[in-house]
């Protein structure tokens, strides 16, 4: 084996080793790397109670209720399988609307997710407003998150 070939194998070996170690580490930390839980995971009890977590999903159409005279708002988010009720007091981001993907940070308490922060998520699709209007989707958009 020439020294050059030896170095080639050494580098390939290092890369394979580091790659494998990273893959194993990422696999082990998979749950911690999830930025949010989806409603199905919450309903299935996979999300911890009374602990600071994030949940994400689409705002269910017609579910947004504002309390008059305050910034308090309640709505449902869904992944088209399960829903979670979210309660939030504060200013919502511009993109917040029914049918929009959102991520809420807060705690699960008595079946309601009490959020202290709500972030809007948007998908990877871009189009002019006219096109979006003419598409007026008869099918629900794909759930956000894992694609």
């Amino acid at each position: 084996m020439t020294p050059r070939r030896k170095r080639l194998f050494a580098i390939a070996g290092i890369l394979a080793g580091v790659g494998l170690a990273t893959a194993v580490a990422l696999k082990a930390f998979d749950n911690n790397l999830q930025y949010f839980y989806d409603p199905s995971e919450v309903v299935a009890g996979k999300a911890p109670l009374d602990k600071s977590i994030r949940v994400g999903g689409m705002v269910t159409k017609g579910s947004v209720e504002r309390k008059p005279g305050s910034l308090e708002v309640q709505f449902l988010i869904t992944d088209f399988a399960q829903s979670v009720k979210i309660s939030y007091t504060g200013v919502l981001p511009d993109l917040f609307r029914e049918g929009q993907g959102i991520i809420a940070h807060g705690r699960l308490h008595d079946g309601v997710f009490v959020a202290d922060e709500v972030l809007a998520k948007h998908d990877e699709k871009y189009m002019p407003p006219e096109v979006a209007k003419s598409l007026k989707k008869p099918v629900p958009p794909a759930p956000e998150g894992r694609t």
């Binding site: 790397l33 930025y35 511009d94 972030l119």
Partner: protein, 246 residues
Amino acid sequence: MATWTWFHKLSSPPHFYRIAGKMIPWYAIPAAILIVLGIYGGLFSAPADYQQGEAFRIIYVHAPAAWLSLMCYTTMAVAAAVGLIWRIKLAHALAAATAPIGASFALLCLATGSLWGRPMWGTWWEWDARLTSQLILFFLYLGYMALRSAYDDLTRADRASAVLAIVGVVNVPIIHFSVNWWNSLHQGSTVIRKGGPAMPPSMLIPLLMCFAGFTLLYAALACVRVRAEVLQRERNATWLKELGAG
């Protein structure tokens, strides 16, 4: 091994110095044209987005910067590996010359992303997988440059930093696939995507021009910077003295 002669010829510093000097305008001029057209097209001709309105236009800087930050790192790692395996100093010079360019684009990507995130998502920064892995990429660039400057001896700097560059390359696929592997705030890829780009041509064409323009800009910058590296490394070589005299 006749097929390798071009490779050996290209890896000789005097030859490369000459070729790279000649190539600069061939990269720089199309880069300038494409970037101007792409940015103009993106900011003025392309329609506003149906949900993000005018704010989506920052994509014309953000996405090409992100692409360049990944491409530069890959280039740097491949060059470093070639330098280590075949003991080609010019490859190390290319890796060293690429690092600050890649770091600049990584920073540009993080900065524009943050400016975009504030109005759209409602936050400047979130520790989601895409954002965090991109930040790690920026730190890898900084670490690479810091490690190089910690050695006085160029050969040792080349070898030590090359190992770091190669090890860090595992982060590149992590960044790209982070939005598929984990739930994240950042959306998936728009252009490289199953089912084709999720953008009409009126938006996509300026974006592709920016991608091509930024890539050519890198090529031009790399030529300039590798030439500077070569000058510094070969400062005592006779070919340089002859070049200076002639």
